[in-house]
């Protein structure tokens, strides 16, 4: 299985606007890598450069150490799955599945055998004589997947393959994709803007924004140790709360001041403050995830006074949206203990899980 390297790759469509800037990372043999990012972040351009559908402006893409920049798409031996399926409208499912075999001189029976096999695997055998427009989105993408795997390529490129599908179908199919990956062991380069999907399906996630690589790692790393405010905000099922904060010294030990509450910090975090913040004048913000907030009726010095604005029930739990002078917070609580709107509450943060962003948005508390 090939190892794919991006070495300082850039893509410009006009001389001044970068779609992708100085991208450097590698996909290990046989691993499943997700590129995660909001739309317009350059993830599609990255994939298309790898596929050979777009030229590379600067830098180099290497596969197993070999420079691929000038290699035609047809010669790269990658299989691709498209967001809009990109099936051949004039061919039935059988014809679509057989197309990648057209380049080889295979006997008709061999083609039929392999198409049958693939159709069996993807449970589309009964649709073989249908045309793409007679299929549902999920069925179409199964065909798209089948077309990709029928060739025995060792690398799959998938460009938001589940993007156009309903939620339940998405879950079904992503399991399928992961299963296929386990079975085939091919290197897979997968693009999505859905972090849950990325987490569920991949070995490694690369977060992109503004054409740049932000952070690579598994989901837990990205959640607990985001490199910056963008990643912190982008990752996480429920949005992180970010409010202004200041650092004060309590007999030489740094504390966080958040909206009047004084929050002592554990040793390891306090030391990070000491080493990175020389003056107390810089603008800081604290980030806290909903699960790391506890709500109390009583006040305390380390608690932030707030008033409940909205309660969003989520089944077992509920999200309490509360506002205070410092800003807005979101906290998850067990559904039966959710305070009613209008009620005053006092929020206490889990100090070991706080994130602290400097003026540039860099996470000061990043530990890993």
């Amino acid at each position: 299985m090939p190892r794919i390297e991006f070495d300082n790759v850039s893509k410009r469509y006009t001389p001044t606007t970068h779609a992708v800037k100085n991208l450097t990372f590698a996909i290990e043999n046989g691993s499943f890598l997700c590129v995660l990012g909001p739309s317009g972040c350059g993830k599609s351009s990255t994939l298309r450069m790898l596929a050979g559908l777009e030229s590379i402006t600067e830098g180099e893409i290497r596969v197993d150490g070999k420079r691929y920049n000038e290699l035609k798409a047809q010669s790269r031996d990658f299989a691709m799955v498209f967001e809009n399926y990109a099936l051949y409208p004039h061919l039935d499912v059988y014809g679509n599945l057989a197309m990648p075999l057209a380049t080889r001189r295979l006997p008709r029976r061999e083609i039929a055998r392999r198409v049958g096999e693939i159709a069996e695997t993807l449970q589309i055998t009964e649709h073989l004589r249908k045309r793409p427009r007679q299929l549902s989105g999920g069925q179409r993408q199964r065909v798209g997947l089948g077309r990709a795997i029928i060739r025995d390529t060792r690398t799959f490129l998938m460009d938001e393959p589940l993007g156009h599908m309903e939620a339940y179908l998405r879950q079904q199919l992503r399991t399928e994709i992961r299963r296929l990956h386990e079975e085939l062991g091919a290197t897979t380069f997968y693009i999505t803007h859905d972090q849950e999907e990325a987490a569920a399906i991949s070995d490694q996630i690369v977060v992109m924004s503004d054409g740049r690589l932000q952070q690579a790692g598994d989901l837990l790393t990205l959640l607990d140790n985001p490199v910056n405010k963008f990643v912190a905000e982008f990752i996480g099922n429920l949005p992180i709360s970010i409010i202004p904060a200041a650092v004060a010294s309590n007999f030489g030990v740094p504390e966080l001041i958040v909206g009047g509450a004084r929050m002592p910090l554990p040793e390891n975090r306090a030391s990070l403050i000491e080493s990175s913040i020389s003056s107390g004048g810089s603008k800081l913000e604290v980030g806290v995830r909903p699960g790391d907030i506890e709500l109390f009726e009583d006040s305390a010095p380390n608690r932030l006074p707030l008033s409940v604005t909205v309660v969003e029930p989520l089944g077992d739990s509920a999200v309490v949206v509360a506002d205070g002078p410092a800003g807005r917070l979101r906290a998850t609580v067990p559904a039966d203990t959710a305070p009613p709107p209008g009620k005053s509450v006092h929020a206490e943060f889990d100090p070991s899980r706080l994130l602290l962003f400097d003026e540039a948005g860099i996470n000061i508390f990043r530990t890993a």
Partner: protein, 292 residues
């Protein structure tokens, strides 16, 4: 319920004039042609006399009619073939994004604007052996004059050429529009499936263009089958009947000979022939999933 019925009545009243117009314009002439074809009727020489299938029987034994059927077939085949191949190739050429192509494209469609009868006149003079510019050029090159309109083996192809001059741009235009509307993603899929340019052309481009190809071929078959102006202006069916296509024979019998019954029988036969041919292609317009 009664309101609905009332509405239906009004709706019917509203559309009935257009239905009548359609019947009058499309159906009536055909029925009338069939009716006349069952009669002996020379215009200006008395009332039509019922003759049953006599006109058709006479047609069956009319060697000139049979010859005209084959001449028409030959003309349609070669005209449509040339127009399609050249027009198709031009469409690809014009699809290339090069500066100036748009202007060239606009110039290329000019022949469509010319009245066919004028095109016929122009080509008649160009091919003429005594005054024609083409034979002048031929003699400049030291070759003997060519009987473009008088040589038994050449004349029909001169008319094919004139027809192609006029209608190739039309094919080009339709195919160009069809090419422009092909989705880009299919080509990306083809690339990723490892197809080279040639394979992509035959396995993707051509099949996806099939509806447009069929439509343009149908239109050209029907239209070239009806072509009369070029023959009228250039050869009047000569030499030795080699360019006597059906519409010209119909004109000669109906509008010069005024044998209306006979001409109507020819018209009915033409209608049947063209219907059979076009239905063959119409059935092949779609990708085929309607046949399921």
């Amino acid at each position: 319920m009664s309101l609905l019925r009332e509405k239906r009545k009004i709706a019917f009243a509203m559309i009935s004039p257009s239905i009548l117009v359609i019947v009058a314009i499309n159906i009536f002439p055909i029925i009338f042609a069939v009716y006349i074809s069952l009669h002996l009727w020379s215009f200006g020489r008395g009332e039509p006399r019922f003759a049953g299938l006599l006109n058709y029987e006479d047609l069956y034994y009319d060697g000139r009619f049979i010859d005209a059927v084959f001449t028409s077939a030959k003309f349609v085949f070669f005209a449509v073939l040339v127009e399609f191949l050249v027009g198709f190739a031009l469409a690809f050429l014009f699809n290339v994004k090069v500066r100036g192509m748009a202007t060239l494209r606009q110039v290329a469609v000019l022949p469509i604007m010319v009245m066919p009868i004028v095109a016929g006149l122009v080509w008649f003079y160009m091919f003429n052996e005594n005054f024609g510019v083409i034979n002048w050029l031929v003699t400049l090159l030291g070759a003997p004059k060519v009987g473009f309109l008088t040589d038994l083996d050449v004349a029909l192809f001169s008319i094919v050429l004139a027809d192609a001059w006029q209608w190739t741009p039309f094919v080009m235009l339709v195919m160009f529009a069809a090419l422009q509307s092909l989705p880009e993603y299919v080509y990306e899929a083809a690339k990723m499936d490892g197809l080279n340019g040639w394979q992509t052309f035959w396995r993707v481009t051509i099949p996806m263009l099939r509806p447009s190809i069929m439509i343009v071929i149908i239109l050209r078959i029907v239209d070239s089958f009806k072509m009369i102006e070029l023959v009228f202006m250039m050869t009047q069916g000569g030499p030795a009947g080699r360019t006597e296509v059906l519409p010209w024979y119909l004109y000669v019998t109906g509008f010069q000979g005024l044998d209306l019954g006979y001409a109507a029988a020819i018209a009915v036969c033409m209608l049947i022939i063209v219907t059979i041919f076009t239905q063959f292609f119409v059935a092949r317009i779609g990708f085929g999933d309607d046949q399921k």
